[in-house]
Symmetry: C3
Subunit: 351 residues, 3 copies
């Protein structure tokens, strides 16, 4: 289904300032090197200014920080954001109801929306609820009593274990495991680990996206909870009873230990870990490869193992890389002081 939008409507959609012909029709969005007539392209880096002006695009979306002379320009505060909004507008297609593939297996007493697509080789348990416009891709396995809200996309080879609950418009990428058992044992006097039953579930809010091969464990009791708007990258580990606040970002290979709570809009950089049973305040940002060892106030900026204030950490690692010199300096100082002390003693003796 082809879409179009006047430049005026498009500028309004992204709260931009238009210079050019407001009635011009735009039919698509393209990057600098492939945009053609009818397209709008976007420029975020002044280094590509000539390429933008020379591109075949009908209009250019540009950040207000960049000076550009062209016939049709839409100026915005954040060209990345505006381009994402425009792209999504042009790419959005009505849901294609594919129905249930002949090879899919559906359990008993399920409640399925009328408009759904269930792919080949899918296995769905009993008493599963799927909302409207849900797509379950090939090879995915969904346990008993799972609820999946309207507009969700569950990609291929995903596993969602029994009783987990997904909100609306959630995207789960291939290979994810939602609701696997939490890692909990009690150890007896012989060193044998007795499994603590993991009886809780996982709740995932609206508009959450979870990257490929990530894992969100079910709670021991109660629930592990990923709140609305949070985006999780690939190969991330979320342990039992963790709560992740709204609109947080967990970059690839992050690991969050059990019962830790993250606030809203927390950002954990790639390969960062946290210990369990701590609380990380709203808006905290932790650089990649860090390890958070204790509670953190809202708005903290952290780095390192254990994570400390990010600016302080950068100063510390700068000194770290010069430690051999520092050691030498201190050794020399020791000698010099020893020498001075000798001199001093002899002076005083002399004195």
């Amino acid at each position: 289904m082809e879409k179009k939008l006047t430049l005026e409507a498009l500028a309004r959609m992204v709260e931009g300032e238009l210079s050019g012909d407001p009635a011009l029709e735009i039919f698509g969005f393209g990057p600098l090197d492939s945009a053609g007539p009818g397209d709008i392209t976007f420029l975020v880096n002044a280094a590509y200014l000539e390429q933008a002006v020379g591109s075949g695009a009908t209009a250019i979306l540009v950040g207000k920080n960049i000076d550009i002379e062209a016939d049709n320009v839409v100026r915005v505060d954040d060209a990345y954001l505006a381009s994402a909004i425009i792209q999504n507008y042009f790419l959005k297609q009505p849901f294609k109801t594919g129905g249930i593939h002949a090879s899919a297996v559906i359990g008993k007493n399920c409640s399925l929306g009328r408009e759904i697509t269930i792919g080949a080789q899918v296995a769905i348990g009993d008493r599963v609820t799927l909302g409207e416009q849900v797509e379950i891709c090939a090879g995915t396995v969904i346990g008993d009593d799972v609820t999946i809200g309207d507009g969700c996309t569950i990609r291929a080879n995903v596993t969602i274990e029994r009783g987990c609950e997904l909100g609306r418009r959630v995207i789960i990428h291939p290979g994810c495991v939602i609701g696997g058992d939490g890692y909990g044992y009690a150890t007896d006097k012989r060193g044998v680990h007795v499994k603590r039953p993991q009886l809780g579930t996982v709740r995932i809010g609206d508009d959450v996206e979870i990257g490929a091969n990530s894992c969100v464990d079910r709670a021991t009791f109660g629930m592990t909870w990923i709140k609305s708007g949070t985006k999780i990258d690939n190969l991330v580990q979320v342990a039992h009873n963790v709560v992740v606040g709204e609109n947080s970002l967990l970059v690839a290979q992050v690991g969050i230990s059990g019962s830790t709570t993250l606030g809203r809009n927390v950002v954990l950089g790639g390969q960062t870990g946290t210990v369990g049973h701590i609380s990380i305040g709203d808006g905290t940002m932790v650089a990649g490869k860090s390890a958070v060892h204790g509670n953190q106030p809202a708005g903290a900026r952290l780095c390192g193992v254990p994570a400390i204030d990010g600016k302080q950490w950068f100063k510390c690692v700068t000194v770290f890389s010069r430690l051999p010199d520092l050691l030498k300096d201190v050794k020399r100082l020791k000698k010099e002081i020893a020498h001075l002390q000798e001199q001093d003693e002899s002076t005083h003796k002399e004195g």
Copy 2:
């Protein structure tokens, strides 16, 4: 199937001291906030003492370190352990033989226990042996010549490659890969990597549990071996020819390089790594995010990259976070000493 136990029998089961009515019947186990009449609940943190006393539970399981006044109390050394034992008692159900789902594919010359459950969309190779009371969940793929012992649960979308051997009561969580090729290459003069065939297998002992999306590679020759009682969390990497001793714990996102041997009751914290070809002694504990670079004696307590004695590491990182001050101090000392040296010289000249 409902279960019940007198308070006396229950106290005996966990080697606890009973105060209260030994003939009282207990029908279940519940956490503080949901336990009701007929339940036993448990208390591990004195902060929740009032909630425990006020809960609707018929009896309370409590660590000996906590003073509590209530009608029916079972006092134990380790309330976590005792509660795990009691919960497992109440939750344990007889194995439900589900048979083989119509969509499952079973190879030739397999030997399957009489009581088994094989889920939808499963693919099992040739000459596979499954013991009694084995459950293979939907979407799992089992290669030729695999042996799986009595009481194992292989959850959804797992892959077990050819020839691997699992003991009894092993639990493999979704997305695991057991027996993928080890990572081994020889590099020629042009920098081209020639694959070294990975001809060994994986052996997994009894009562091992492996978390979601973890990987245990097959050996180059011989076997990679996870010994009985070891518990592995999610997204863990165990390379070829690794041996993990009994009752060890590998927390999420740990990586163990090829041919490394771990003793019994070793604990590796989350995101820890080890180099290859080393030996880590019995009972060694390594804090999360560490990297073990060399052989370790039994009972070591390690932390850091490279891992050193844990107590020493904590002292070192404390100084690390003050390195800029230390640097300033040394700079000032240099100046002061230079000044003293000048004074000294002039004194001696004067002298």
Copy 3:
């Protein structure tokens, strides 16, 4: 199909020096502890010299650095490389065309080689191209418009998303996800993350091997590109628009952030990470557990977080582990200098 080779032919195959009977026939390759008559075995460590001489093997492959007296010996520069070449010769079997399993689902308008094997429970989308001698193992899901070249092996439960392109002789291990969406969002003023469409693909060159449960994300625009000969271990994350040069090695649990470019023959040790949008030169080697924060010239040897010159890093961590002593030294120096300053003042007063 049994194979044989004269010792002369075998020596020629690995550019080795033969001492012994050139006409002897060799039928296989075995490790020291299991090689028997008709086999060649190999020795890389002089500690096992007696075992090698005493083994039942007909011939011994040995590095030139080891002195050995035996009847039939092939001496080579690199015994690992030579043994890999010989093993591969003996193990290589003609491709077994298994055809398409009855339970597999194949989409419309696919182009499949004549000699292929498609396993049970496989789901293949529309317009997929599979070359000759391709094996797709059980449970794997291949999206629309994917192209897979001659001689590729895609193991079980893999997901290859729409439009990705694999070269020849690529091996993808179980659980991998190729072409999942890149992790890209633009954030509005309320802190809500707007998904940036991920419209590119993944291209994988010839002779690439990717370990279990690894992820290679599709590009935002254009392509993520793993060039020929690169070998990737398990649980590795390759983000959108990354380019990995020829014959590189990414060890387990490595993470490469978006738009970073690696040269040829780069080696990243286990659990290493890189930030995005940097360039790492040919032949760079980064030790495990490091984090690369900036562009790197060819041939760099790096270690640490952030990664610095490896030799320097080792010196620095040595000092790090003695930081508490260094701090004490500096404190004592401060006191001693203060004392000297007092003395000095009094001397000068006295003077």
